[in-house]
């Protein structure tokens, strides 16, 4: 029996409720946003679906507590030791937004891997000034995109950098260390999302290889052919 069948069989009007309901209300924004993000990341196309991505950006803004932040994800997907730059997956990258050539992207991807080689901790650049722009090569691309305050979170799979979560503010000094602690629970979800995207990309590449190359292979003479 379902609840609707129960409602039909035993109408609520046949009962009287006496007493009081004590109501308590708590702000559960942090937990709820993480739950909503988990639901989104269960969808394997979370990084390629623009509407899903817009929601994720809003969720990050809510976690941090600041409106007007830009959130990006730059994947560093490698298949057979070559970087793969798919428009579908790079559409939400701040770092790659204006990089056209593959050589430039390769160089900056290698640089980021080096930057986070020994660290799994997010990096905070509370104010992007000339000095720090000169010291950290990739920051100029964020500066050109209007970032004046920036958090870069490494997304790693078995100690290998597979992407960056980028949170940028147009206001210098706006992002602070406390904001990193607010998003820490969300970082593994972005890693999970990237892993799923990478898995999907591998599957798609395999499919193309099988479709285009297998007809040229020698015929299978085992039981499968039969």
């Amino acid at each position: 029996m379902t609840i609707d069948e129960l409602v039909q069989q035993v109408p609520i009007e046949k009962f009287v409720f006496e007493g009081i309901t004590v109501i308590r209300i708590n702000d559960v924004t942090q937990q709820e946003v993480i739950n909503l993000m988990k639901e989104k990341f269960l969808d394997e196309n979370s990084f390629s679906d623009a509407s899903v991505y817009a929601e994720l950006e809003t969720h990050i803004q809510t976690l941090i507590g600041l409106k007007g932040l830009s959130v990006g994800v730059t994947p560093f997907f490698k298949i057979n030791n070559h970087y793969i730059y798919s428009d579908l997956h790079n559409a939400n990258s701040i770092l790659f937004r204006h990089l056209q050539s593959i050589a430039e992207k390769d160089e900056i991807s290698d640089y980021c891997k080096l930057l986070f080689r020994d660290s799994n901790r997010p990096l905070l650049f509370d104010t992007l000034q000339e000095q720090v722009l000169n010291d950290v090569q990739c920051l100029q691309y964020y500066f050109r995109e209007g970032a004046r305050s920036l958090i870069l979170c490494p997304l790693k799979q078995r100690n290998n950098l597979i992407g960056l979560l980028e949170i940028s503010s147009p206001e210098a000094g706006q992002l602070l260390p406390l904001h990193i602690s607010r998003i820490e629970a969300a970082i593994p979800l972005f890693t999970l999302g990237l892993e799923k995207s990478l898995e999907h990309l591998n599957y798609e590449v395999d499919k193309v290889i099988k479709k285009n190359l297998l007809p040229c292979s020698p015929p299978w003479n085992g039981s499968l052919q039969r």
């Binding site: 046949k14 009081i20 309901t21 308590r24 708590n26 702000d27 559960v28 507590g65 409106k67």
Partner: protein, 167 residues
């Protein structure tokens, strides 16, 4: 306990209208201070900034609300609970229905249902422009249920297996 609540009990005893079933809510208005004292046993005074209230079971009618509850959840000038968006009211109605049947099944069929129910709604913060998520916990320990007339026949428990314990 006698020292702490003796005065409150004495005062209650002078108001017999509060010692029986209350159907006319206007009787709660004159002894507002006494009601406040009674509620301080449930809501500690240090939680003044928290959101809490008391409502009639499974209705949107509040009989008591903390200042913040009043400001954020009551329709101005009334005691009606209203949500910032229409969807939330509908969701809460469904939640209330489930909770009410949970209490019936618990009392009459010994179903193992919880005493409280939770419901999450979104609340736009106009100052920051962001959305907050609020959890409303309804405590059913002060609710009693009984049949309005003759006890309606309830389905045998074996048929209710498919209804989850937390309704």
């Amino acid at each position: 306990m006698q020292k702490l609540y003796g005065q409150v009990i004495k005062e209650l005893e002078t108001r017999p209208e509060l010692l029986t079933t209350i159907t006319d809510l206007s009787v709660l208005t004159p002894p507002a201070e006494l009601i406040q004292e009674l509620l301080s046993a449930v809501f500690l005074p240090i939680t003044a900034n928290y959101m809490y209230g008391v409502s009639l079971p499974f209705t949107f009618h509040s009989v008591y609300a903390s200042p913040r509850f009043k400001e954020e959840l009551l329709k101005p000038g009334t005691s009606e609970i209203q949500f910032p968006d229409a969807n939330s009211r509908q969701k809460l109605e469904t939640e209330m229905k489930h909770f009410a049947y949970g209490l019936i099944l618990k009392k009459y069929l010994g179903y193992n249902n919880p005493d409280s129910s939770r419901f999450i709604y979104s609340y736009p913060d106009n100052q920051s422009g962001l959305t907050h998520y609020m959890e409303m916990r309804m405590d059913g320990r002060f609710i009693d249920v009984h049949p309005a007339g003759e006890m309606p026949p309830l389905p045998p428990p074996v048929l209710l297996i498919s209804i989850p314990t937390v309704l």
